[in-house]
Symmetry: D2
Subunit: 437 residues, 4 copies
């Protein structure tokens, strides 16, 4: 890719996830010979950056690898001549997440920090920063790829394709890989013998067909899937009904509970909020414990506790993706990329989450045809929402934001939408300059 050696830049480098990322790079050093790893953060995150960065240095040192780890607050100098840039930033940190989850709850509405009202505001805070990074990349490392695993990954990817000309962008999610693991468990086989045709949007992806050693075993899997609690660590796992799964015919993801088991999700959320245990609050506690661990100068590897953090396998998936692109391995991974007609139910140039073959020239989506009618409309509705949402995120237009909030399938109510919107704009004011011009 570049003669000088391989340079990777991680923006939001002070994240508690970074040790997993570093571990991923270390164990892949053989075929992903990184020479420079730059961890970048903002002034508010400097302390964390130092803690995590020093752990990263110790990990590399212990592994005995010639990877230089740089810590910096100067994003532009880090980006210069980068080969891969990863973004795992969290504008407003976990405090903002707590607001994303708890404010809508006051109005009896799910916060849902990725595709719901909370996610909408996370998008409002995040998208301008990502677009800014891309502006820098156009100038400083135009051949680099940007691998994003900041949520809402769907909305962020949509914003990049809808509001910039940058194409070298991949949005990553650990939900599909979890579904492969789940299917392998149900079949009682190793994961690498199972492949799933994924199609949909981020956190709204479906497994259309499942193959075992190249044979279509969708029916068997769906049969076993009934009553399954397969989900993500951060989503309450109520079981799926047999008849519903049979009628649906394809595999939903854990996040689909928000649209297919709405009441249970609301009930759990209300309880959690009452107990002061919204997901953000829980994670905040886990994180502060993690940072205590990270500070220990004797710690030279990723601590086991990180796996409780929720985004397990996220960073590993990122390392995997980068290694696959670097080595042109052509394995098939579901990522967020430009549709190009792969999902015929959605516009050609929008962001989708779909099985792609990963090549040196980037992820190439596999053509899937139309989605089955029983799920096509919901996916299209979410895409409508995402597009309006990114328009609001970029323009800072109040009315557009209100429409986005109202048409979100978890809201459906302009009156509540307005109350939530107003309260959240105020609460996140500091990070939403586009709305307060």
């Amino acid at each position: 890719m570049s003669k000088k050696g391989l340079k990777i830049v991680t923006i939001g480098g002070g994240s508690s996830y970074t040790p997993e990322l570093v571990e991923g790079f270390i164990k892949r050093y053989d075929h992903l010979p990184i020479t420079e790893l730059w961890l970048v953060d903002v002034p508010a995150g400097q302390e964390k950056l130092e803690i995590v960065g020093n752990l990263a240095k110790r990990m590399v040192e212990k592994a005995g690898l010639p990877i230089q780890v740089h810590l910096t607050l100067d994003r532009r100098s880090a980006l210069k001549d980068a080969d891969f840039v990863t973004t795992q930033l969290r504008v407003g940190l976990l405090d903002a997440r707590v607001k994303d989850e708890t404010i809508p709850a006051k109005y009896g509405i799910l916060g849902q920090e990725t595709n719901g009202p909370g996610g909408l505001f996370k998008g409002f805070r995040t998208i301008p920063v990502i677009l800014d990074i891309i502006k820098d990349m156009e100038e400083l490392c135009p051949d680099a790829w940007l691998i994003n695993f900041t949520n809402p990954a769907g909305m962020v990817t949509e914003a990049v394709f809808r509001h910039t000309n940058w194409k070298k962008f991949v949005g990553l999610c650990n939900v599909p890989i979890g579904m492969v693991r789940g299917a392998a468990d149900l079949l009682g086989v190793e994961m690498d013998r199972v492949r799933i045709d994924f199609a949909g949007l981020n956190h709204m992806v479906y497994g259309l067909r499942t193959y075992l050693d190249g044979k279509d075993v969708s029916k068997e899997v769906m049969e076993k899937y009934k009553g399954s609690r397969a989900s993500m660590k951060n989503i309450t796992a109520t079981p799926w009904g047999n008849e519903f799964i049979e009628g649906l015919g394809i595999m939903p993801c854990g996040y689909h509970r928000y649209y297919y088991q709405y009441q249970a999700m609301v009930d759990h959320q209300q309880e959690d909020v009452k107990k002061g245990e919204s997901r953000g609050q829980v994670v905040k506690k886990v994180e502060s414990e993690l940072f205590e661990l990270y500070k220990d100068v004797n710690l030279k590897e990723k601590p086991k506790q990180l796996e409780l953090r929720g985004g397990a396998y996220y960073s590993d998936a990122a390392c995997n993706l980068i290694a696959s692109m670097y080595n042109d391995t052509k394995d098939i991974q579901p990522v967020n990329t430009m549709n190009m007609g792969a999902i015929a139910s959605l516009p050609m140039d929008c962001a989708v989450e779909v099985s792609c073959v990963i090549t040196k020239e980037g992820p190439r989506p596999l053509a899937m045809g139309r989605l089955p009618i029983q799920v096509e409309g919901l996916v299209q509705q979410m895409k409508s929402f995402e597009q309006v949402a990114t328009d609001a995120a970029v323009s800072g237009d109040y009315n557009t934001a209100l429409v986005a909030m109202t048409i979100n399938p978890l809201v459906r109510d302009e009156n509540k939408a307005k109350l939530i919107l107003d309260e959240m704009l105020e609460a996140h004011k500091e990070f939403l300059p586009q709305f307060f011009k």
Copy 2:
């Protein structure tokens, strides 16, 4: 159209609406010279048919017109050589409607007798009957047009195009004409100077653009539309928010409150149900009063009270449509017809509600392009629902019905969906043979 004179058949002829229909035919006799009007009903409706039919005969007699009015329970003999067939039937009568509205309410879910869970069951009861009528028409009057104004008009139209080869079908609704009236009022002009580009689905139709004397006045209308309570008689009319309407940019219909003002709709419904005043219950009372009036042998015209009935202008719209087709007047009316690409956001061969020019060869949809993104997804989701719903209505498959109920945008919950489905299947058992094979 036919040499023998013009024969019109009205199935569900015992409906309380029939006098309006008859009045409509009488006042258009000059250019719609009907020779035979056949009112058809089922045995359970015989008494009503007699009452209404005799009023119809008195009305025609008073008008001094040579229209023969026939009353019959024998649908097939009525259909023989018909030119136009209208359907205004109500399988299970108003008692069924009361169940459609009140059972979902028990679970905190809107019944919504057209596009909601109630509408789903109205579809389950109605679609097989309509498909049966079409089978008869293929044999007995293959050149006739079927004008349906039985709800759920969208689902019924979809079922015809999805499950038969019959093309001469129009689904009629009085919502769009009400929107034209509303826009004319807002502009302070006569209705006939106003035209609206309608596109969407039945009870989910939007006014994309408004013209006054051929000039696009959409902006002015939308400005005046803010805060408007424009709605249907049977939908609680909470005002639209200014910012929401500005953000939406196009004109919603009254029924959109179910998707954009969900909470208010639920609250009103819960109150109504508590008071024993669900719409079905109210209408039942109105209807029994109407039938008392109809019995009066001195009554020889449509009584004023009928206008309180809710579906005002419905029958008039039907007469209008028939007259326009008969005379090839080429006026532009929004009806439910096959898409043919008119709304590019939806499949080519599905049912849509869209502005059509009405010609002797039928309604011809005007090409509208894609719907604006802020509404595209919701319409697509409803279309997904409608298609799965008609598949369930025709097959009687339980799982398909469960999926349809769950993906309805007013439900979103497989657990509640199952409870409602089970209770409603039991409640309507008598009229749902396809589910009890």
Copy 3:
């Protein structure tokens, strides 16, 4: 439309067609009360403008109507506050047409002054002028409609939609109306009882279905159409083969002979060119005779001889269209307009020729679905050509022009394309500044 009275501007007013146009306006004065008619031309056409313009004045005077006829070389002052603008200009006059037809013939290739190599160059000369007029209109009469009947009408319409934001544009053609006349003749009925569903491109339009009094009589018409010589005055009318027409299943237009009877067309052309009787040469002779007649101060009406001119009914069709728009008559006419999904086989925003209902807000295309496969591909290929052609016309890029010439279905040969292109660029140099920057 405007309080001040109705102002119409005709660019290329010195055309020999103008008397027909004026006659059309005179006979429609009752419902199209024009107050000002401005005939505009370029300095090179001043003499003709005077001759034709004075005839126009005499015609109006004889009719005793208060229409002011203005003759001018100042286009901008004419356009000011216009209600309708018609364009019937011919850049380079008939001499250019002769070159369009004869130069390709040297290489054994059909010139075809509308969709062939000749048409390509007519487009190159005409499109920049039309785009210039639109720039003026945006400034001087932004509410006016531009009705174009300058060929190549398809390419010109495509250029407007592809390279400007102007939407109030209609491209007119007399081919479809001729097909209605032909079908009426075959059926032995009056034209106004026949309607045809037209879909395709200019000079590549098909009659998909034919209705008589609203009844689909396509089969009968196609049966009678076999062996028909139905064509335009300017196209040699070899008969269609029975089996071919039966296989095609829908009605081709006269110009389809270029794609379905290529050899006969080439043979006739070669003969004509040899005899010095290319269509351009013939028309030139007819025209100079016409202008002799026009000079006669005693002539106060359109002379019969004009009907030999070829474009018969063209101007009448234009008057008709303007009257229909002015009066919102909603008759159904095929015109060139933006697709909007009406023909699903073609891009949403390209120019198509399709049956439209003519309203005060403009022509509204009727949704036709996909074209039958047996013709879909040819139409798509021509659309590809038209789009590349307009890109070349606007950019003046040589390579793009060469590709356009090569992919034209009458050429298919880059070597001949280059020879023709080079010779024609040189021959028309004076009128193609964009290629000689």
Copy 4:
């Protein structure tokens, strides 16, 4: 894939290509451990089958591999439990090809044995046989894949998807691999560093983008491509013009000369036919020499002379494809498969030639979006032709066949089409029972 060992069946096993195929299997034995190879042919080909089959046996024996080679005329017993079936049959043998090429030439029309009039008849002869084989496979080896390299590969693939429910079908062509080789040569690098995004139809495929080590080098390649004679052995290689290639912007294949250099192709053909050296005649001579060689019992490997045969690398490509599927190698190869939206310019369910990732579950097309407008229309036209052609091939309808012949871009003339059609139907009568029912 199957426990019993790997069984491959080659229909048309007596073909002169077979030794290449066998060589391919032998050299891949390590990762493609075939246990049974069945060579099947028809009675008329029995002698050749014996000759080639015995050579195949000697080759396997010399390689010392435990592959059983079976020769049979009983297709059904061969197909039983097969894993892969390859078809390389030639209905009517080379004599038929000579007719395909020379009859159209009499009328000044290119025969073109794949996408032209000759190809149309090759399709008429071949498609019914392929559909028959599929019927057998549905019964005898429903899990097997059919790998077809019988021309016209595009039309045959279209027929399978359009007229059967069989999905496990791949159409193979050696044109794209030749384009990769050509591009590598132009860049002066090894083939395996070059990847091309292929999209289009068989023998009408384009290289949209070229990558070198993952970097987009399309511009450099196109620059070097100018004036290139890159072509197939069997297509006269006149150079491409610089300006044309620059305007086209993407890489055509050798067969595109038929549509972009028509005259040169016709001239060469006329010469060849005059000299009795049509491609079919040349190949016939080469083949009879090959069979002489094959008879030699001392020959135990593929003779060098086979490479002159024209379809070089064809069989190798087939072995490669089978090995990739068997081993799930996920390399990217262009094959003929179902579109599924990969090429947005074409219908979802038609056959396309497009870059696919080759997996154990079959080839998966990469989503390419729309084709560039300069080529979109020609490809769509050819697809129209292919679809009408397969309808004629299956139905045996004369009129449909005539339309197919006329709309072929190399014909464009119903009169010539009819003459050619009639003469060819007569000439091939024996192999076209569907037309002589």
